[in-house]
C-alpha cells in the first residue's frame, strides 16, 4: 500500500519533469526563439542582445536547466503582450476555468447517474433507449457547434441567456452544458453498464432476498459500487474537460485560462503558452494522482492487497 502510493508519486514527478521538457521544447519548434519573440523587423544587434539576455546561445541542456530552475520558482518569463510575468496572469484566470470545469463535471454527473441507473433498471425500456441515444449522440456532437446552436436558440431566438462573459449563474449555463455533453455521454454509458453488472451480483440478490425494497437495494447496495469506476473516469477525463474548456471559453469569451491561452497562441506570446501548457498539464497529472489515491481509499479491495 505504502509502496503503491510511493510508486504513483514517483511516476507523477517523472511525468511532470517530462511535461517541463515538452513545454521547454515547444519554444524551439520553430527554430530561433528570437525570431518569434522579437517584433518583426528587429535589427541584428537587437537579436544578438536578445539571444545573449535570454541565454539562447548557451547549450540546450544549460538552457533547460535554467528553465526548470525558474519554473520551480514560478518564473516563466514575461508575457510579450502584457509585459508582466506570465504565471500570475494565468493564475488570475484559473478560478474562472475552475468554476466552469467543475460546474460542467457536476452537471455531467448529475444527469448521467440517474439516467444510467434508470436505464440499467429497465433494460430495453424507454429510459434505456433515451440513455443510449444520449450516449451515442453526446459522444459525436462537436461541443463548439452545440455551443453555437445553444447561442442561436437560447440567446438569439429566445433571449433567455447571456452569450458571453462571466457573471451570475445564467452566464455559466451554456458553456458548462457545452463542455459537459461529451463527458455526460461517456458517463451515462459507464453508469449503465456498471449498474447492469452490479445488479446481477450476489450481494444484490441477497439484499433482495432479505425483502429489501428495490429502490433501497439499488440506491444503497448497487449504486455506491457502481460509482467507483465513475471517479476514475471523471478524473482521467479531466484533461479532455480542460481541452473542451479551451475551445468553449473562446466561444463564450469566458475569462479563463483557455481563452487566455488561445489568445496567447494566436498572438505568439510564447512565455504565456509555455507557462499555460506546463500548468494545465501539471494540473492533469496531479488530478490523476489524486484520483488514484482516492481510488485506494474508496475501494477497500485495493487497500488490502
Amino acid at each position: 500500500m505504502r509502496a503503491y502510493i510511493a510508486g504513483r508519486l514517483a511516476a507523477a514527478v517523472l511525468v511532470i519533469l517530462g511535461v517541463s521538457v515538452v513545454s521547454f521544447v515547444l519554444t524551439f519548434l520553430t527554430g530561433d526563439p528570437a525570431e518569434i519573440m522579437l517584433p518583426p523587423g528587429a535589427t541584428a544587434a537587437q537579436i544578438a542582445k536578445f539571444r545573449a539576455d535570454w541565454g539562447f546561445d548557451d547549450p540546450v541542456f544549460v538552457q533547460y536547466w535554467r528553465f526548470l530552475k525558474r519554473a520551480v520558482y514560478g518564473d516563466f518569463g514575461n508575457s510579450l503582450r502584457h509585459g508582466q510575468p506570465s504565471l500570475p496572469l494565468i493564475a488570475a484566470r484559473l478560478p474562472a476555468t475552475f468554476q466552469l470545469t467543475v460546474t460542467a463535471m457536476l452537471l455531467a454527473i448529475a444527469l448521467a447517474v440517474p439516467l444510467g441507473v434508470l436505464a440499467a433498471m429497465r433494460r430495453g425500456g424507454p429510459m434505456d433507449l433515451l440513455a443510449m441515444a444520449v450516449a451515442l449522440i453526446g459522444q459525436s456532437v462537436p461541443n463548439f457547434w452545440l455551443a453555437i446552436m445553444m447561442i442561436l436558440l437560447f440567446a438569439v431566438s429566445w433571449g433567455l441567456l447571456p452569450t458571453s462573459g462571466r457573471g451570475g449563474i445564467a452566464h455559466v449555463v451554456m458553456p458548462a452544458a457545452a463542455i459537459a455533453i461529451n463527458l455526460m455521454a461517456l458517463l451515462t454509458r459507464l453508469v449503465r453498464s456498471t449498474m447492469i453488472e452490479m445488479l446481477s451480483e450476489d450481494y444484490v440478490r441477497t439484499a433482495r432476498a432479505k425483502g429489501l425494497r428495490e429502490l433501497f437495494v439499488t440506491s444503497r447496495h448497487a449504486l455506491p459500487n457502481a460509482l467507483i469506476p465513475l471517479v476514475t473516469v471523471v478524473g482521467l477525463q479531466f484533461g479532455y474537460i480542460l481541452g473542451g474548456a479551451v475551445v468553449i471559453e473562446t466561444i463564450f469569451t469566458w475569462p479563463g485560462v483557455g481563452l487566455f491561452t488561445i489568445q496567447a497562441i494566436l498572438n505568439r506570446d510564447y512565455p504565456v503558452v509555455q507557462a499555460s501548457v506546463f500548468i494545465l498539464a501539471t494540473a492533469v497529472v496531479l488530478i490523476n494522482l489524486a484520483v488514484d489515491l482516492l481510488y485506494v481509499w474508496l475501494d477497500p479491495r485495493i487497500r488490502v492487497t
Binding site: A11, L14, V15, G18, V19, V22, L26, L29, T30, L136, I137, Q139, S140, V141, P142, F144, W145, I148, M149, I151, L152, V156, L186, R189, L190, V233, L236, Q237, G239, Y240, L242, G243, G244, V246, V247, T250, I251, T261, I262, I265, L266, R268, V273, S276, V277, L280, A281, T282, V284, V285, N288
Partner: protein
Amino acid sequence: MRLARRSPLAGAGVLVVGLVIVAALAAPLLATTDPVDQDLAVALKPPFWAPDGTLEHPLGTDHLGRDVYSRVIYGARISLVISVLAALLGAVVGVAAGLVAGYLGGRVDTVIMRLADLNLAFPLILLALAVVSLLGANLKNLVIVMAITTWMIYARVVRGLSLGLREREFVQAARALGAHDARIIARHVLPNVLAPVMVVWTLEVARIILMESALSFLGLGVPPPTPTWGRMLAEGRDYLTVAGWIAVFPGLAILFTVLGINFLGDGLRDLLDPRLRRQT
C-alpha cells in the same frame, strides 16, 4: 454485410460513412458550384425551403455568397484525409511501440509507457494548438500533430494484448524453435492484435475529425480558401443573428460523420472482439 445484419446501428454507420466518402471523392460532381466562388450579389441567401431561398443554393449562401451545400460537400475531403491519415500514422507508431513494450517488457516497456502517460497528461487540443501554431497550419503538420494525439491509445491497447500473447503456447513454441524476437512479433503477435487495432482506429478517426474541426474552428486548421467544416462554423458564428444556416449545416455534417463512424466502430467492436470495451 455480416456487420449490417448483426447490428442495425453498425449498418447505419456503414451507410453514413459510405455517403461521406462518396461526397468527398465525387465532390466536383455533387457540388452545384465551385466551393470557393464568391458572388456577393447572392450573399446570405437562406436555404431553399425559406421564403426567398432558391434551389440554386439548396442550403443557402454565406457572407461572401459562397454556396453552403457545395462547401459542406468539399469540406468532407479535408476532414477525411486528415483524420484517416493521422489515425493511420498514429496506429503505425502506436502499434509498434505497444508491441515492443508488451513483448520485450522491462526497461523498454517502462520508457514507452511513461512517454504515453506524459502525452496523455497534456490537454491534447491545447498541445495540438500550440504545436500547429509553431509549425504552421498545413495538411502535413496537422496530420503529424493529430498523430501525436492518438499514438498512445494504440500503444496502451496493443501493449496489454501482447503482454498476454507473449505467454501463449504458439509464441512460446516459436521461441523454442529459435525464432528471432522481430520475427515472432511480426508473424505471431501482430496478427493477433490487428482486430482490436481496427476498432480503435475507427473510433480514433471519429475523435480526430472532432479535434481537427475544433482546430479549424479556432483558426488553426488547413488555411483558406480550402473549405473546412470547422472554419465554416467559425465564419457562420459571426452571422448567427442574420444567417444561422451558415453555422448549422457544417456542424450537422460533422455530427453525422462522427456519429456514423462511431456506430461503425461500436459495431466492429462487437463483431471482432466483444471483450474489448470502449477505451475511456
